[in-house]
């Protein structure tokens, strides 16, 4: 029986799952994706993780406990640093230290497969190759290469503005296109597309009668836009958010902006200030939703509805 490798369905898995799955299954492993986050996993995560870490990390820790017994090893990437246009962009400290945190919280946990993406040391493809080699695959067997090809095809991830969004290979339930105010929803993919953590934000916006605009820039857009930003953030995933917002603002295609972040997210306040002061500049209304493990969905829904109402009133005037 092939070795089963577990991947948690939270954090950056939302961005990179097709690539990781293609890579691991091409190497001959069984990839097991954990169940979506639910109340139980989140409660467990909140109990064992330090109180001050952000919501998605708590969910991640909870999922580890859930999936660990069912698999032979866990796949936990370390997203240290990526290069865009020769500039370095880092992961947030939590993304960098994730395997160490997991080891500290679950000292008895067996195999952890670490994919270390640190483009200060080596390009991303080499990180995959080295991981394949360390897993006992010959350097000359181009499995990692075909894995990359497979991933390329599976791409469509959460990317490409224009084309429909895919998360975990499924098209995100096509949101009915209503003729309402165009509302950009900006937030990490692991919040927007996670039903439990994100509390169906996208659905509520669309239910309230607004047109949802969610954009995740492609690599090309990222590098083009990076050169336009005066002082881009030095976090990769925040660059994504800022680029997405920048693209929407640039084309003038939105009437309002909904910024979704989670409690104790360290990067969010910085991104928020950058978006608010550099991009929005009072041109249209902006609302921030802060998610934590206690919020009730009804409360968020009320806020979203009144925000959309406000956009509609503004549109009529």
């Amino acid at each position: 029986m092939a070795t089963r490798i577990g991947i948690c369905r939270s954090l950056h898995t939302f961005n990179h799952y097709p690539l990781w799955r293609a890579f691991l299954s091409e190497l001959g492993f069984d990839v097991v994706l954990s169940e979506p986050v639910n109340r139980e996993t989140l409660d467990f995560g909140a109990r064992v993780a330090p109180a001050e870490v952000c919501l998605p990390v708590k969910a991640f820790i909870g999922q580890i406990a859930r999936i660990a017994d069912a698999v032979d090893a866990l796949f936990i990437p370390r997203l240290v640093c990526r290069r865009v246009n020769r500039r370095l962009f880092f992961g947030c400290p939590k993304a960098i230290a994730l395997p160490d945190v997991v080891r500290a919280i679950f000292p008895r946990l067996g195999g952890i497969i670490e994919l270390i993406i640190d483009e200060r040391e080596r390009p991303e493809w080499q990180a995959f190759r080295d991981l394949a080699v360390s897993l006992g695959v010959s350097r000359w067997r181009p499995a990692w290469l075909s894995a990359c090809h497979a991933a390329e095809e599976a791409l469509g991830v959460t990317r490409a503005s224009g084309s429909p969004l895919h998360v975990f290979g499924e098209e995100v339930s096509p949101l009915p296109t209503v003729r309402g105010p165009r509302t950009a929803v900006v937030g990490h993919s692991y919040l927007l597309f996670d039903r439990h953590l994100g509390m169906n934000v996208l659905k509520h916006v669309s239910d309230a009668g607004a047109q949802v605009v969610v954009a995740f820039p492609s690599a090309k857009e990222l590098s083009r836009h990076e050169s336009l930003l005066v002082s881009p953030p030095s976090w990769y995933y925040e660059l994504e958010l800022l680029t997405a917002t920048g693209l929407s603002v640039e084309t003038g295609a939105i009437d309002g902006l909904l910024f979704v972040s989670s409690f104790a997210c360290g990067t969010a306040p910085v991104t928020y200030e950058m978006i608010r002061r550099k991009l929005v500049r009072g041109k249209f209304p902006m609302l921030t939703l802060l998610l934590d493990e206690q919020t009730g969905e009804a409360g968020q829904r009320t806020r979203i509805e009144s925000f959309v109402d406000l956009l509609m009133l503004k549109g009529k005037r």
Partner: protein, 367 residues
């Protein structure tokens, strides 16, 4: 150029004289206060970390006092510290202040040199001469301050009156602040030990030893950490912070002491493979060193929701339990109150004393 920079501990004593020697006017804002922190908290994004809020309030005070250039140290890495300069500049400009922003970083070296040369009306030889003098004076001040702090910390648990001991430190610091010439500083430096030796002793023999770890600002700034070193000293504990202002300026500013930092990181490597931007790996390394040196306990301070300090916590807890080393983690924000902190410190010191009486020490190796 009327320069101002964020207030950390007694940094003004050092940088004021450096900048003055370089030819800049320095604006010394009113001492960092709770009001300044509250002001910063009002202007900053809510979920931002405490040092950001404190320094922002501090900068508003400096601008009100007439500063026209704000100097920040910066860099581009994973911790929010790298954003302080530009983010605070944006916030302050939106408030209507007008000023220049000078970000000192290793990536921004040409601008820094240009700014310094500009102070000597563009004459490079003159700028160089001034720079040498400035750095000599600054360095001596920093060294003298560091020495005074070190001897003070070592004397505190033995002092019959901790308040008097504190007074001696303040007097020396004031002397260093006012000193204008290297020889005065050398003299002060030489007198430090004798002046603390003259402090009347109590009969304590072997005080508890505690290592102070955490985020740099919270370790260095007495206002936000409620003077934790002094408080612990008053309780008869010998505190050894892993970072002092001199070491902070040396390690991060001038990139000295790389060896020591590398050693700390190497020690931490079993538990912590990548430093994620703050003092995480460094703190952890010093914690493991504290195990080796048989410290009685470790106190970790950091701002609420600080990314590197939060993320390293589970690992510290694990080190603490596998080596049986008592560990207290304190997170600070603008709502923290002194009494709460004191209660926790007292309880922690009680625990350490009880362990000492029972003959418990940390294990040197992982069983």
């Amino acid at each position: 150029m009327k320069a101002a920079f964020p207030w950390v501990g007694s940094i003004y004593t050092v940088l004021e004289s450096v900048l003055r020697e370089l030819g800049a006017q320095v604006v010394v804002p009113p001492q960092l206060s709770d009001d300044a922190v509250a002001l910063g908290a009002k202007l900053a994004p809510e979920a931002m970390c405490l040092p950001f809020k404190a320094t922002l309030g501090n900068m508003v005070n400096s601008l009100e006092a007439g500063a026209d250039t704000l100097v920040y140290t910066t860099g581009s890495w994973s911790c929010r510290y790298g954003y302080y300069g530009r983010l605070q500049a944006d916030i302050l400009r939106d408030l209507g202040y007008r000023f220049d922003l000078l970000e000192l970083s290793h990536e921004n070296l040409p601008n820094t040199v240009r700014a310094v040369a500009g102070l000597s009306s563009g004459s490079l030889p003159r700028a160089l001469r001034r720079a040498v003098r400035a750095f000599r004076l600054g360095w001596l001040k920093s060294v003298a301050l560091d020495r005074a702090g070190e001897v003070w910390r070592a004397t505190m648990p033995f002092a019959d009156s901790p308040d008097y001991c504190w007074g001696v430190l303040k007097a020396i610091e004031e002397e260093i602040r006012l000193a204008q010439r290297p020889d005065t500083l050398v003299r002060t430096y030489g007198s430090v030990e004798a002046r603390f030796a003259a402090v009347r002793r109590n009969n304590r023999v072997r005080p508890l030893r505690v290592k102070l770890l955490g985020e740099s600002y919270c370790v260095l700034e007495p206002l936000v950490n409620f003077d934790i070193v002094r408080r612990l000293g008053e309780m008869g504990v010998l505190v050894d912070p892993f970072l002092t202002l001199h070491r902070w300026l040396g390690l991060h500013g001038l990139r000295l002491g790389r060896n020591e930092m590398a050693r700390a990181r190497r020690a931490a490597a079993t538990y912590w493979r990548y430093c994620c931007g703050g003092e995480d790996a460094n703190s952890l390394g010093h914690m493991l060193r504290a195990v080796e040196l048989r410290y009685d306990g470790v106190v970790h301070v950091g701002p609420f929701a600080c990314m590197p300090s939060t993320v390293v916590q589970p690992t510290m807890v694990r080190v603490s339990s596998s080596f049986d080393l008592p560990f207290l983690s304190i997170s600070l924000d603008e709502h923290s109150a002194e009494t709460g902190l004191l209660t926790r410190l007292e309880a922690f010191v009680d625990l350490l004393e009880r362990r000492r009486r029972a003959g418990l020490t940390s294990r040197r190796s992982f069983l």
